[in-house]
Symmetry: D2
Subunit: 470 residues, 4 copies
């Protein structure tokens, strides 16, 4: 749940990286960082908060150099631990190296314990630090050391490395997380999503392929395939359903068109639909609701308004607001809803508590019947590949039948899209569906003890206080 | 372009006012203030920035008392002048008095010069300070002094006053700006829009009527009509078109339904429509585009995405962003637009520069034809009643025929809603249409010299530096 | 307890005023402000905190113009009320006017009630606002209006006014507070103390005389004596004893030399002195202790060290520190004190609690005998002329005989300087000794009801919260 | 040029450490940090700025646990590199470990290159990180690993380590930097200077001896001597002359008494002294000037006043101030100096530029003759043991004879204390005099290439930007 950017051979590398981060802000709001390479040195800044907060003008202008790597980090519980903010920057036998990581490793803890027993010391709780330790123990050149390190790693990673001389981008062999290449004039750029490529003023060229390692050096771009024969791709389908921005292409698909297709498939599965209006939970439900409306013929209505002013600043609002956050973020339009039978479209249900609050709000606004339609199958398993789903016990769909969920949320009916419908909408089988099926495509060594109930302490501990090591 | 809140007889008056301000944040992002009455004193805080930034928990908790008045102020050019932030607080012969004002007076400068010649001293450049001076020169009770003062005033005002014993709400005789009453349990509440009433957990009771003065004292609510026979109402139609939130009722109309009707009327006037998709400029164009799509039968498409992260924090982003602000706020979905003939729906055109940038962006995304459809008539005159339109020379529609605007913006066709269509959509003639017609319903003494080209210095000077008096 | 600065006809007026404020920082740490006159406008800034905190580079650079007035304000209890920070800035019939005030008026409340009854409105609780109201009701030219206003005023004031065309400095007829004139090249400068004149790079010319009004206009300096025959001066002797900086001349006396003389006189009155060392309470006691040591022949010892890091930043240290503030600010040098009989020199005793804590600290460090020697007479009355002494009941010397004070503080002997000794040290009778004698040289109308026990609420209320009017 | 604190077995460990840091603030103003051990975890905070700025109440309260280690860091040029702020916190095979370091290692770069070649990765440019790497490669128990690591280290270090179970304090075999032990009730405390022991409310017990390693575990204090036969101590004499606080005992000497003795020795060497007054450069010159005055019989005068408000806040004052910093910090008292022949006492001369500015200021104040008397020998060599002296070329005494320095500073005569006088004053030969003699008591491997002109880049680079690795 992070976003990464790389750029080389450009006069305003840090400024362009900043524009790119801005477009990836939805992938992480907790912290932001930019490191640039300038005359043999790497230097930059990481800070807590939104990109615009972390990089005031004067700070941004000080980050000089023709290549840069950048990162936004997702807000994890309780975390204001700047020490973990990326890009991480280390000095090694290969010289200084910066790393930006999107994804989660599944054997990092195992490797960390082994490295510690060999005398390694760790400063962060980030699994990404393990990668740098492995690299530092292998001979150069740096791209060889990186490839050698990644062969020891399991899990999900899209990575961008920066050294004083090279920019290196990699996607794991299964391609869990997205990463794409573009060109800004002649300068190569990398970003998690295509909208960032466009935001930087660059043109989209192609995706980095699963298992591909791209080296940018002296203006040339070299593609390596260090992993040998690759398994079938298992790209994260949740990027399409919820996580990516609708104006991006991800894994070759237009995100908005895919969400529209999800709504259309759901309408087909629910046909015939008897309702007065189709109402999306904004904003992620809007494209699907439009697809559903078109397919079903039921009128589309923006019956819920989303505030632009909630939850978007690092400055915490007063407690009185935080106690009521759903009500502040979303508000119903009584005139559009009163006495109506509505199809309420949302992308997914995790714990069910948010949906319940929304439905209570709709009831108070006078809705007659709520038929909740979810554009994905029930989430029954935790994700170990970078999506911050809670542990299994907290997933409402893992705790009981659909009827129980329906009663908990308080709706008149509840329908999920089938796995088949989902696959029809995305038009391919090259996706990871583990959160819907429990079938994980890789070993998940660090978490195995935790299955089926994932134990919090089994992963590198999230710091409770600003800085801490357990 | 401000929002105001009042509440009386409630244990958590300031906290509730804060919730209300939050819902009115779209009416003003520059500054926020809350003043409460506690044991014979008035005290509180005004600060620059968004409500959530201006009132951290610890500050909000310190504002005690059972009655409060609150205000959000619109960002005016160059202004970080805290001294003008409202509610203004003065001590007078009537005791302390706080005032929150939405609207603009049209003879304030004239009155100010007269008051100064009588020895009055002014601390702010706000026209609202004139009102307090007039009140202080009239005998009590306070509601009588307020009525006497307002009889000398021309222009647009919805006002809430707070004294240690009374809360008083007034709307000017023509009702330019909205103001409504609700009940939170037994506690009377006032707010610019109904969505704030709901956000506070209260129920909407009715609008304060044009020319009505409501006194809350000792738990009782008294309605006065001090102005004698009233002129026909001239409520601001721009509140319906653009300014108010879609989940509010304003002047008795559902804002969202009204905007939908504007789109429907425009579709009728443009029929038959030949296009592939109807695309709104988000967010204000969405309801109208839905209405247009329904009426015309042309498919609705969210072809432009609005970022949630731009312009929402008091902290200024780096210069590199501010140079490109439209591109950052809005981005097209190429897959949804490429090769299409689109109807682009927006609420209005002011200078035309924003529309031009949007259309260039759409061209780059591959749109084949852009037919721009504006849900209001051309804006040809400045507003002197509280909407921050620029001076006449900067209004593109005042500078040439529609064809010139079309060429400037760079679209294939440009259609405005007719004044008749606008009146059909709002279903009444009780509105001010001055910005479309140039026919001002009141004297505008302060600005007369400035007509037709309104001179900036003719109004109380906007401070350039943090604090200043010309 | 404030410091004021004025400067005219200088290219960098605000920057020079800033340097001057820096030198007056000891006169007020709560708030700072600078207002400059630029092309017919007055503009500037006031902010809470130390001068260096209130005026970062970027803010200071924005304050343009060739004349400026500036102010530092003393930290009054609980007060973070920016609205009262000076210079105050108002617009009047004379045009804009800024005022910086050092001193306290003794009939401000009386005048304020009268002005309010005539329709005046007040924004601050500062007595200085009354002066501006009086000025605004009198005909020009401005210096005439100022003189007319001040004739209605009782109490202590050194004032600097700024208008777009003139800089005007006044000292009250009795000369309670200091004010001096200098020249920076040809530019006239005014400051509360001579050290600020020097800090600005200017040369000291003379003091503004009691009852003198100096007008700077078009590069010329005109002296007016509007008050007619003047009473004998009653300059504040406490400026010499404690308040002013030792590197200043105040009322024609070198402050450091005067303090040395106070110590010398005290040594004479206490002769013969039997002790091992003379130890000052730093920093204000140092010059007196040196004088005492020289006169008595007893060795001088810096036995107490003062921390440079306590209480000097606007950022409040953690509670654990504030609970112990004396211990953190001052610490003994055990090696220099153990087993010694010491003469402990301090400038004055107010409540006695600080002295008690210091003496306990010295006992713990092993001091054998403490003979406390105070370089001024017992303080038995509150000051109504600008020194922030507490009300009479809290003055330990007003509550009982010297012996009771000695026991409370816990010293072996306690000696105050006699009034005669004090007068010998300052070499003149032109001083106000009211705090030692209770004989006030003027009417103190606002406080009369409060005598002998001054009632807090009898003065314009100090705001408890950021902004408030009782 | 840092200060360190340790405490174990106390309920409010972090709060007490905070009090201790406060007393060591003069040893470092750039950054502060506190790490505590709580239920098997280490957590805390480091921040830029003064202690009071870095630890607001709410932050301090969150640092829980019964043992803590703390650090203040000296302001190095350009450095706002939080990543280097101490205590450093790492996770190793021994579990989490925090380290606070005062001193400089002289073979850290050499060891770092060796460790990197073995795969170690470095996050900071602090030489202290090398120590942790060495520890992590040795078997437990932790105190054995620490001893083993330190045997590989050359240079100056007083160190405090914290693990979840143990607190360990060490002083290097030559005892360059001070470290002492105290007891707060039964809780063992450690601090760089005795004044911090007292500030924490504890009693001084003894110094940690050179080459001693003290382990606190389960309430018991164990002393180890892991280094075998020790060389003669070479304690830093500059701690006595300038660096330590006068209310501390350092290396068994009262700092204030030692400074007084330095002044006395200097007076003897200069006898007979012909002058009107002895004037110290405050504050460090005060005790020596008192000693000089007593010995020579020449009158002591506080002729220069030091501002309490300059340079004490993290917030940078405006540029106009920084251009003039000496003038703002120190100001002369003309009345005390005019026409006088003065002995100006200072502790040392480094570049000579500060002395020159002070003397120019004194000339402007009318001093007739300035005889500068320095209480230490000429500084001719850089320090590699933790005092931040500049490189040799910038040391004025290394660049020419005393007569050249005298002319540069602009005084009538210039006298340094002799090395013999210095040794008489400190009463022992167990001191490092390298800065006066160029005879370094240890290998200084990292810097050897740099001798005699120390090359800046030879040490781990100080980051210019917030975070950076060369």
């Amino acid at each position: 749940m992070c976003g990464i950017i790389g750029i080389a051979d450009h006069q305003h590398a840090a400024q362009k990286a900043y524009l790119g981060l801005f477009a990836l802000q939805h992938r992480g709001q907790e912290a932001a960082g930019i490191i640039a390479a300038d005359r043999g040195r790497l230097a930059g800044r990481t800070a807590l908060g939104l990109v615009a907060e972390a990089f005031p003008d004067r700070v941004l202008r000080e980050i000089r150099g023709r290549a840069a790597v950048a990162h936004v980090r997702y807000a994890t519980a309780g975390g204001s631990d700047l020490v973990n903010a990326q890009p991480l920057l280390f000095e090694t036998v290969h010289g200084p190296i910066a790393i930006a990581h999107n994804g989660t490793l599944t054997n990092a803890l195992h490797l960390r314990r082994k490295l510690e027993s060999q005398g390694a010391i760790f400063r962060t709780s980030a699994d990404s630090e393990v990668i740098v330790h492995l690299i530092a123990r292998l001979p150069g050149p740096i791209e060889g050391a990186i490839a050698g390190a990644l062969k020891q790693i399991d899990g999900a990673y899209s990575l961008i490395f920066l050294t004083p001389g090279k920019l290196i981008a990699v996607r794991d062999p299964r391609g869990f997380r997205p990463l794409c290449v573009g060109r800004l004039g002649r300068a190569p750029v990398f970003a998690s999503e295509t909208n960032a490529i466009h935001q930087m003023g660059a043109r989209f060229v192609r995706e980095v392929e699963p298992g591909e390692l791209v080296v940018v050096h002296d203006g040339r771009l070299r593609s390596l395939k260090p992993f040998g024969p690759l398994p079938a791709p298992t790209q994260c389908v949740f990027e399409e359903i919820y996580f990516a921005r609708p104006d991006s292409r991800v894994f070759g698909l237009s995100v908005q068109a895919t969400r529209r297709a999800l709504g259309r498939e759901l309408a087909r599965e629910m046909a015939p639909v008897k309702a007065d209006v189709v109402v999306p939970v904004p904003d992620s439900g809007v494209p699907a609701a439009l697809g559903f409306s078109r397919e079903s013929g039921v009128d589309f209505e923006m019956g819920i308004v989303r505030s632009h002013y909630i939850g978007r600043t690092f400055i915490q609002p007063a407690q009185v607001l935080r106690d009521n956050s759903v009500n502040l973020k979303l508000s119903p339009i009584p005139e559009a809803l009163r006495g109506k039978r509505i199809i309420l479209i949302d992308d997914s249900i995790v714990r069910g508590t948010t949906s319940r609050r929304i439905c209570r709000m709709l009831r108070r606004a006078g809705v007659a019947e709520i038929h909740m339609a979810i554009c994905s199958p029930p989430i029954v398993s935790s994700c170990y590949y970078g999506i911050d789903t809670p542990r299994r016990e907290e997933l409402i769909a893992a705790r009981g039948p659909v009827e129980a969920t329906r009663r908990f949320i308080g709706v008149d009916s509840l329908t999920y899209l089938s796995t088949e419908g989902l696959l029809r909408a995305v038009g391919s089988r090259d996706f990871c569906l583990a959160c819907f099926t429990g079938r994980y495509p890789t070993r998940i060594m660090d978490f195995e003890a935790a299955l089926p109930s994932r134990v919090k302490t089994a992963r590198p501990a999230a710091a409770k206080s600003p800085m801490g090591v357990a």
